[in-house]
Symmetry: C2
């Protein structure tokens, strides 16, 4: 069946019948949140066994006591190895990379970046937001009053022609980027895109790249390599422009992991100076437990293979249903890792599709959430999060999604 105006009535009638059947099932499914499923969390349970009351917790210092602002040496070693940076280029903190990113933006607002004036004192400023993207990124910079400028995502990363043009504006102070298995499309920045990021010559000296490598080792099958932005930036003397973030939120426990920032030694010095007013140090026992559990970067990669074996069937199931029931009507990405699949519905139907699904008991990420100000100009993009529900629920949820999308499409012609 082709999705042409002539077929709209026929398609509507057939789908609304299915829809009513779904409604009568009393479904209660949630496809909105990029959170690990319990079976993924179970894989990390042994992390709770690596420390007990008999453990020696005296490393470089007594890890039970105060001290160590920048993270315990063992954790710096582990995550610097994982990220391919020097130990002098990393600060390991608590459980939330979002918290680190928020605080970095706030520090720029309050104290200024790179010796420039506090951003609070610089008038109206702008921030670049590759779209579709991560709603919590956009929300942070919206909160601080930045005008959010959309930059289209391409399969190899943000459109760098546009980025290079926009950073000529001295009021542009930063860009968000999830460089690998991006949220929501699952795209990976190509070497060329990473190098163009590294070579950027923004007009603003206090422009920073917020490189949120949230899914750096979150492959589903074969890993896709990502060039090291900090290293590339260093080659052009641009290393102060780069903040790279990561965490174990989707490696160990989503609510009880370890997060870190990688940046130049200059930036580490500036950051830890300001941090020294804020805290005496983050939880070193949590950091140490992670180190003892994973041992080294390869330990993390081996662990990720186990998680991938649980996630891949879920992604495959979503692809299968989209292939079966969405073809010809919608487009979707086929990520090789990460937590999301991005679906583009016919223009002007995303909100209605999500609304219909909700009425049938299936929650999807709100249409628009993947754009700044929650406004998708085409009302087309929906983020699918396959990780949490069991496979059998996924199948039903995605069938409901395709059914609702067809109804939303057909309604435009009726």
């Amino acid at each position: 069946m082709m999705y042409t105006k002539d077929n709209a009535q026929t398609i509507y009638q057939s789908e609304i019948k299915k829809y009513n059947d779904y409604k009568s099932m009393g479904l209660n499914l949630n496809m909105s949140r990029g959170k690990p499923a319990p079976d993924q969390l179970n894989i990390s349970s042994d992390i709770l066994d690596v420390l007990n009351s008999k453990s020696n917790l005296i490393g470089s210092v007594d890890y039970r006591n105060y001290g160590i602002l920048d993270g315990i040496p063992e954790a710096k070693k582990l995550f610097s190895e994982l990220c391919g940076v020097r130990e002098s280029q990393i600060v390991v903190m608590g459980n939330s990379s979002l918290n680190i990113m928020y605080d970095m933006v706030q520090r720029g607002m309050q104290f200024g970046v790179g010796g420039e004036k506090p951003m609070n004192a610089q008038g109206k400023l702008k921030w670049l937001c590759p779209v579709p993207g991560y709603d919590r990124h956009f929300a942070v910079t919206e909160l601080f009053g930045f005008e959010l400028i959309c930059v289209p995502m391409k399969e190899d990363g943000p459109d760098m022609d546009i980025v290079e043009e926009l950073v000529k504006d001295p009021t542009v102070k930063g860009i968000w980027c999830v460089p690998k298995y991006s949220n929501p499309q699952g795209y990976v920045c190509s070497d060329e895109v990473v190098r163009r990021f590294a070579r950027l010559k923004p007009a603003a000296k206090d422009f920073r790249i917020y490189w949120d490598n949230a899914y750096g080792v979150h492959f589903l099958d074969e890993d896709v390599p990502l060039l090291n932005l900090l290293e590339e930036a260093e080659k052009c003397g641009n290393e102060d422009m780069v903040y790279m973030f990561g965490s174990t939120s989707k490696i160990s426990f989503a609510g009880a992991g370890i997060a870190y920032i990688c940046c130049s030694e200059n930036n580490v010095k500036w950051l830890t100076k300001l941090m020294s007013y804020q805290t005496i140090g983050h939880n070193k026992i949590d950091q140490y437990a992670h180190v003892l559990y994973f041992k080294d970067a390869n330990g993390i990669r081996t662990h990720m293979k186990k998680l991938a074996s649980l996630l891949k069937p879920k992604f495959d199931k979503v692809f299968e249903v989209l292939e079966r029931s969405g073809k010809g009507l919608m487009d979707w990405t086929k990520p090789k890792g990460g937590y999301f699949i991005s679906v583009d519905l016919p223009e002007g139907t995303a909100k209605r599709t999500v609304e219909l699904a909700k009425e049938a008991g299936v929650i999807f990420t709100a249409a628009g959430a993947t754009f700044p100000y929650k406004k998708d100009p085409k009302d087309s993009n929906v983020r699918i999060a396959p990780s949490f529900p069991p496979v059998n629920e996924l199948e039903t949820a995605m069938e409901v999604f395709c059914c609702c999308s067809k109804i939303a499409w057909a309604e435009k012609y009726l």
Copy 2:
């Protein structure tokens, strides 16, 4: 021997001889940091046994996963019981109450408090600092550009006649206070002082009391009661003016505890709204481990008795040496709890005393550290931190201290 000018030469000669003996001992002692000793930390070791890979971590939600911004219900219950507040009046976070306080000040600077303009946009502002006090408090508000106004501490708390006068100035936006076993004097606010705090009518609507109850259950022997400021403030409709802070840093592990803020429901609502941009939630597994270990507020109090049995002999040793070797020259406080003893040396001799001690291998908190801008106008106050060194080291360190103080005093007349 009386400390009169006539005796200065004699005292100097006798003390300098002792001092040279100390120097030749090659001492390496540190009395500067208010951190728990290893034997205190050992008392909490079993907290590492309450959770393991077999534990059920599914409480109100799966505590391994994302979610719960304001702290797990069990932790809110535990600490609200300990603090005598409603569960709706507490937000439980990560390991550092300093971090919570810093962030609260920063939120006021950036977003404004109580609907008022951001403090960043209000010109030059002031903050009240009871002295002597806690250097990290003063450093936070100095960093944000407040003019720090000293308020004398009395045995029953800050001098409220002065506080009540100063808050008539609309540029005064806050006051630091460690209400119980204060740092460094160990004073406890009397009921009357707490009530005067509760009744304050500051000119600034965005004035806040930063009530850092860091030592709320840190008695050495009999506990001294402290009136509940939030409750008292509520009686006068003043509850939005109060932020109360606490943590388990000196209850469980100094580097891996749980911290919280107690405040009005209005303030909780405002705070969690802003927090929702910053994090998805703090480490719930750490919170849960604390709950399982302590069980209830009485569990914490019983635990504190064990810690007190280790701390009290240390305080007693310091008192003993001061009594023996400092009498007539210096004054000191005799706290019934907390982590510090405050010593007032003859005017103009604190810096020199600490310097002499350092040269003999004994580190004390820098003279001046207990005052804003690190400037003790009388150069007299030194904070003694007896918790970390073993008792035998304490005795030597305090003898060195008294010896150095006598030399510093005598030098003024030679």
